[in-house]
Symmetry: C2
Subunit: 201 residues, 2 copies
Amino acid sequence: MAGHKQAAPLRADDLTAKARIRNAALILFAENGVDATSLRVVAEAAGVTVGLIVHHYGTKEALREAVELAIVDQFEVAIESVPLNSQPPAKVVTERDLAVARMLQQTPAIVDYLRRAILDGKGERGDLVSRLSELTAQQVRELRDAGLASTKNTLGEQVISIMVRQLGRLFLQPLVDQIADEFAAELTGSQKPRLTVTVER
Amino acid sequence: MAGHKQAAPLRADDLTAKARIRNAALILFAENGVDATSLRVVAEAAGVTVGLIVHHYGTKEALREAVELAIVDQFEVAIESVPLNSQPPAKVVTERDLAVARMLQQTPAIVDYLRRAILDGKGERGDLVSRLSELTAQQVRELRDAGLASTKNTLGEQVISIMVRQLGRLFLQPLVDQIADEFAAELTGSQKPRLTVTVER
DNA sequence: TAGTAACTCGTACAAACGTACAGTCACTAA
DNA sequence: TTAGTGACTGTACGTTTGTACGAGTTACTA
């Protein structure tokens, strides 16, 4: 299942038109939402015409699917960049966390897209969130088999803990930033507040 | 500034058509987003025709404004339902928190709408978030004048702390719920996990 | 009672959207 | 060379959207 990924580069200058379309769509979807982004502005951003988008992806929904697939891909690549047996198992967890964090920081559009996806998520199986949860669950199972992750809590609880800790802070940051900007005059000198999200029970 | 509010009831059966339109819009905007909600479905939900919406509100943007105004109104009413001098000042804070929490629980559409508003927030002054921040700031100032709230942290920090603690949990809950549903089989017996959001520094 | 203002409806329209399709170009295989 | 295939363009079409507007109805006032 963890086959060799081609990793579909999200950042490069010489890409096929098909990839340029997908990357432009990710950025625009993340920034303005899928509904508010017309295929025409995607085409313009990618330097192609609307017809070509239809040619390559068929429908807008299929383009969205491709964008989400690319996002899951990035997560997989980041996680697999730290193999299970490469380090003392205690370090694998924190290293993988770091790799994902670096990936998200390098492609902030993914964070923005995820925020919207979770918001609009119809909770259907096959959802983007579902796929990421499954990915996380696999990771937890791996760690358990290696005798590392505790088996005291249920798998579901561990998955929630990981994803919410990782994503929750990123989701709430815009709220913090906006408020911080408005009271910038009174937040003298000190850096912007930081969030921590914890899951209990 | 804290004049007598007419409180614009959000839940009642005998309302003017104008109010029914606003309430239907709040619910539908919250559920599907503003862009994905056509004036025609709002009209149907309110039991009127599209023409009447235009007559009362002019544009869709103005209708959205009215919805947001009604939300801010609800917050004000909830806060002012616990007057400053009604109780020992130590209790005023927790009682006001409770009043707001009750209001949000009673009208969950407000929570959903807020989640979307923060997401799409263009960060402009006059925003919904801006207005709520200002409302919170006023509250904090009142408490400071009463000698209750600490003046050790800046006003901005206190506003962020209050709003994020109050709203952050509600925003992340759908994420937790969706994941919890998918691992329902493994979350045997135990209730759903609970979130806590804290702000540092 | 007459009149006027507000409420409500139904229709109409321009703009924007996603999609379909015919056609052009470049390149490869036979 | 010829036939064919995939990338790519431009136009066109049907649908849905927000908005405009005239006409009918109700309610209140003089």
